[in-house]
Structure formats: structure tokens, C-alpha cells
């Protein structure tokens, strides 16, 4: 087949599947949370309540899309688009299977780090442009939280880069043919998981939008589809971190018997369910606890992981 055509099909396929999954996650999250809390959750619209998402979508599209008169209009409109764009761009370098990948570059992990640090702008600018003190506080919290946790997210990933000898995600997956990196890099895996939760601002790290203190944090003033963009952006981030966890630490598409695409989907779904379970199980820390924990524990641990991994790799090569 024509390679350009194939690339376009792969690109559209990834886009459609990821966006559908992101909106489907709203239903999955509500059902799973309800299950763990001994309730039913949305079960009326369609089979198992699956059409609830569709109903919510229709509702959100018909809501008044209001921009407050005191807001900074261009930045207010731009902010929710940034998060969706940066997360979707990152999917371009993720190898789902040997065939289903848009671009394989030798700086793929750095590209992911760059896009996730650009994603910070979305919440920061959303909070600032709303011109509301609760939004501003949420934006400030988001900026300091995401910047700090990004530092050791990068450092934690470097362990896999050292073992594979490349920044390319495909090379990292292929280096896990004999052993998943979760075994030699268990500390790195735990650090990356925690940093990933903080990056997507999911509970227990959802302090930028802690509703008991800040109304809704950085998106207090948002309504209609602009709020929907923040919402979809968050779920896209959950999918992205789950895919990356399976690619970097759990062998990506590799596995016995089943075809590669099934393995990557199964691994990703496992981590998505874990994210939802965390939301159901964990309380929210105080903000200063979050920051001191990040800088005083996570950063030294990731540096230690980096140094030890480097030493072992060097000793093995001798």
C-alpha cells in the first residue's frame, strides 16, 4: 500500500480511538467509582449506561459558552486548546505496535517532556486569564506542582534510556524483549507513576482544582465546551501516562499468544483502572506537604536511581 496513505490511516485511527477512549473514560470512571463505593453509577441511558457519555456531550454542547467580561479574552480562549493540542501531539511519538506509530524519532522521550511542560501553560494561563482569585490560586498551584514533578519525571525516565541506550521509544520497547524494565527499574517505575499522576493533576494530586478550597480552581470561570476541553485534556493525559507506563516499563506491545495491539490495549487499560482506583482510595494531601514531599523525597530518590543505574550499566559493559 502507498506509505503516505498508510500513515494517514494510522494517524486518523489513533486520533479517533484516543478521543473516543477519552470520552468513554468518563463513563468507565463513574461506573468503577460507583462499584468501589457500593453504588450503581450511571446505568440508565443505553446498555450499561454507555450512552450517558453521549447525553453529557449533547448537554455540554448546548450550554451557554460564556466568557466573563473581566477576563482576558484571547488568552481565556487559547488556554483550554493548549492542553488538548500538547497531549495529542505527544501521541505522535508513542509506539503502540510495530506498525501503529506515527513518528519514530531519536528524541521521543524529550519530545514528551517538552510537550508536557508546554501543557503547564494551559492551566496557568487559564487561571490567570479568568481574572478571579480562586482561579489564580489554582493556576499558581498547578504551575508549581507540575514544574516540580516534571523535574524528577524526566530523571526517573532516564533509567530506561540508560538501559536501552536510546531516547527512541521503539528502541526502549525492543530492549525489553527478555526482561520488562519494571524489574531492574522498579524505583524508577514508582517515581514515574507518581510524577505522572501529578502531571495529569488527578487525585490525590488534584490540588489545583481542590473544590473544597478553591471552588473549581483554574477552571472556575469556564463553561460549555471550553470546560469540556479541560476535561477531555485531563482524560487524554491519563491515557497518555498509562500508555507510556506500559511502553517504558512493561514491554509495550510485547507479550505471548495475543497480537501486539491487544497487549498494549490491555496494559493501558490496567493502568487506567489503577488511576481510577487511586481516586477512589486516596485522600488529598495539603499543598505544602505535596511540595516538600516532591523536593525532599522524590528528587533525591530519582537522583539515586539515576546514579545507581548508571554505575550498574557501566560495570556491566566492562
Amino acid at each position: 500500500m502507498n506509505p503516505v496513505l498508510l500513515k494517514i490511516i494510522v494517524l486518523l485511527g489513533i486520533l479517533i480511538v484516543v478521543l473516543t477512549l477519552a470520552s468513554g473514560l468518563i463513563w468507565l470512571e463513574r461506573r468503577l467509582l460507583a462499584l468501589w463505593q457500593d453504588r450503581y453509577g450511571p446505568n440508565r441511558v443505553g446498555p450499561f449506561g454507555l450512552l450517558q457519555v453521549l447525553a453529557d456531550m449533547i448537554k455540554i454542547f448546548f450550554k451557554e459558552d460564556w466568557i466573563p467580561p473581566f477576563a482576558d479574552k484571547p488568552v481565556f480562549v487559547l488556554a483550554p486548546a493548549i492542553i488538548v493540542i500538547t497531549v495529542l501531539l505527544t501521541f505522535a511519538v508513542v509506539p503502540f505496535t510495530p506498525l501503529v506509530q506515527i513518528a519514530d524519532t531519536n528524541i521521543a522521550l524529550l519530545f514528551f517532556l517538552g510537550m508536557s511542560s508546554l501543557g503547564v501553560y494551559s492551566v496557568v494561563l487559564g487561571g490567570w486569564a479568568s481574572n478571579n482569585k480562586y482561579s489564580l490560586l489554582g493556576g499558581m498551584r498547578a504551575a508549581s506542582q507540575m514544574l516540580s514533578y516534571e523535574v524528577f519525571m524526566g530523571l526517573a525516565m532516564m533509567g530506561t534510556v540508560m538501559l536501552a541506550g536510546s531516547f527512541s521509544m521503539r528502541a526502549i520497547v525492543e530492549a525489553q524483549r527478555h526482561m520488562w524494565f519494571v524489574v531492574p527499574q522498579f524505583l524508577g517505575f514508582v517515581l514515574f507513576l507518581i510524577a505522572g499522576i501529578a502531571e495529569t493533576r488527578r487525585l490525590p494530586f488534584d490540588l489545583p482544582e481542590a473544590e473544597s478550597e478553591l471552588v473549581a480552581g483554574f477552571h472556575s470561570e469556564y463553561s460549555g465546551m471550553k470546560f469540556g476541553m479541560f476535561f477531555v485534556g485531563e482524560y487524554l493525559g491519563v491515557i497518555l501516562i498509562s500508555v507510556l507506563l506500559s511502553v517504558l516499563y512493561f514491554g509495550g506491545w510485547q507479550g505471548p499468544f495475543l497480537p501486539p495491539i491487544v497487549w498494549i490495549v490491555l496494559k493501558t487499560l490496567f493502568f487506567i483502572c489503577f488511576f481510577i482506583l487511586l481516586r477512589a482510595a486516596m485522600p488529598r494531601p495539603r499543598f505544602d506537604q505535596l511540595m516538600s514531599w516532591g523536593w525532599k523525597w522524590m528528587l533525591p530518590l530519582s537522583l539515586l536511581n539515576l546514579a545507581v543505574t548508571g554505575a550498574v550499566v557501566l560495570a556491566m559493559r566492562r
Binding site: 482576558d72 484571547p74 488568552v75 524519532t105 531519536n106 528524541i107 524529550l110 519530545f111 517532556l113 517538552g114 510537550m115 508536557s116 511542560s117 508546554l118 503547564v120 501553560y121 496557568v124 494561563l125 487561571g127 490567570w128 489564580l136 490560586l137 493556576g139 499558581m140 498551584r141 504551575a143 508549581s144 506542582q145 514544574l147 516540580s148 516534571e150 524526566g154 531516547f167 499543598f287 505544602d288 511540595m291 516538600s292 523536593w295
Partner: protein, 196 residues
């Protein structure tokens, strides 16, 4: 690749001009971010993908976010826009314009002398950059890390002294029972900035 280079370069120049002329500081910072991203694309087209990634991660993603963060904390409103408007008179651009014209003249002279454009250089991946940094330029890396460590210790020193001062004030007002609630809110809001 050449067309992409020229488009990115034009975007970079336009965004930088807009950075200088914007009255609202946050809008100016956003244009500066766009300019840095355009420079990253320029690096990529010149065969330095690692530099391009670092440009996005460090400049656009970390340093500029901190700038935006600080500007947000200052809470600059309409007053600043008026102030900027009074400062940005056309006369203020004469000096920079002369200096920039000299640079443009030099660049066009150099381009005219070399005749053809530089041929596409070989791609420099992360491997070569790392080998160069930890080989011939090791001393530079060490010096830069000294500087960063010094800045880190200094920032910690300043931050910790200020935090101590705040706790004594807070405890005193708690003892007297005056406005302890307001004080709690204030320290809570200040804390993230101190930690970051």
C-alpha cells in the same frame, strides 16, 4: 526542509517584534514563548534535534513558565498597560533600530560574500552532544554545575530566612489571638511560591 527553515525563522522574527511591542506583559511573554518554539524548529531544520528538544523543554517549558508565574503573582492590571503605553514612544526605538540595522548589514555582507547558502550539515544526535559535553567540554559542564549549585544554595538561604521570619510573626499573632485566620490563609497562599 529549507522552506520550513525560512517559515520558522520568519515566525521567530515576527513573534520577537510582537514581544517588544505588546503592552500587556503576559501577552508579551506568550509571544516570546512562540519565538522560542520557532527557534526550536530552526534548530531542528539545521540538524540539531537534541538542541531543539532542549530548547522546548528548558526555555519554553521551564524558564518561561516561571516568568509567567512571577508576572501572575505581581497581578499587573490595566494600570501597567497604560504605563507601558507611555514608555513605548517611537523615539525609544531609535537606538535599538540603529544597532539592529548594523547587525542586518553584517549578516547580509557575510551572506553575500559566501555566495551560496551553507550546505545541510550532518545531523547531531543526543549521542554526539553527550560525548562532546563529557569529553572536551567537561570543564565547562563542571563550571556550569558549580554556578547552579551556588544559585541553589543561595536561593535556599534567602528562602529559609524569610520562612523563619514568617513563622515567628504567625506564632505571635496566634498567641495574641489576633487575625490568626487571616494569617493562616496568607501563609498558605505564599507557601507554593516559596517552595517553587
Amino acid at each position: 526542509m529549507e522552506a520550513i527553515f525560512y517559515i520558522a525563522a520568519i515566525v521567530a522574527v515576527l513573534a520577537t517584534v510582537l514581544t517588544v511591542t505588546r503592552l500587556n506583559p503576559v501577552h508579551a511573554l506568550l509571544y516570546l514563548t512562540v519565538s522560542l518554539l520557532a527557534v526550536a524548529v530552526v534548530f531542528y531544520t539545521l540538524g540539531a534535534p537534541f538542541m531543539a528538544a532542549l530548547e522546548v523543554v528548558i526555555y519554553a517549558g521551564a524558564i518561561m513558565v516561571l516568568f509567567v508565574f512571577v508576572v501572575m503573582l505581581l497581578n499587573l492590571g490595566r494600570h501597567t498597560v497604560d504605563l507601558e503605553r507611555s514608555w513605548l514612544s517611537p523615539g525609544a526605538f531609535v537606538g535599538p533600530a540603529i544597532l539592529a540595522a548594523i547587525l542586518v548589514g553584517e549578516v547580509s555582507y557575510l551572506l553575500a560574500r559566501s555566495g551560496t547558502l551553507t550546505p545541510p550539515v550532518a545531523e547531531v544526535g543526543p549521542h554526539q552532544v553527550a560525548l562532546a559535553l563529557y569529553g572536551p567540554y567537561l570543564l565547562g559542564v563542571e563550571l556550569a554545575s558549580f554556578l547552579l549549585l551556588g544559585a541553589l544554595v543561595g536561593a535556599y538561604h534567602v528562602g529559609s530566612r524569610r520562612a523563619q521570619g514568617r513563622t515567628t510573626v504567625g506564632s505571635r499573632s496566634d498567641r495574641t489571638g489576633l487575625a490568626s485566620g487571616g494569617d493562616l490563609v496568607r501563609t498558605g497562599a505564599d507557601r507554593p511560591s516559596g517552595a517553587a
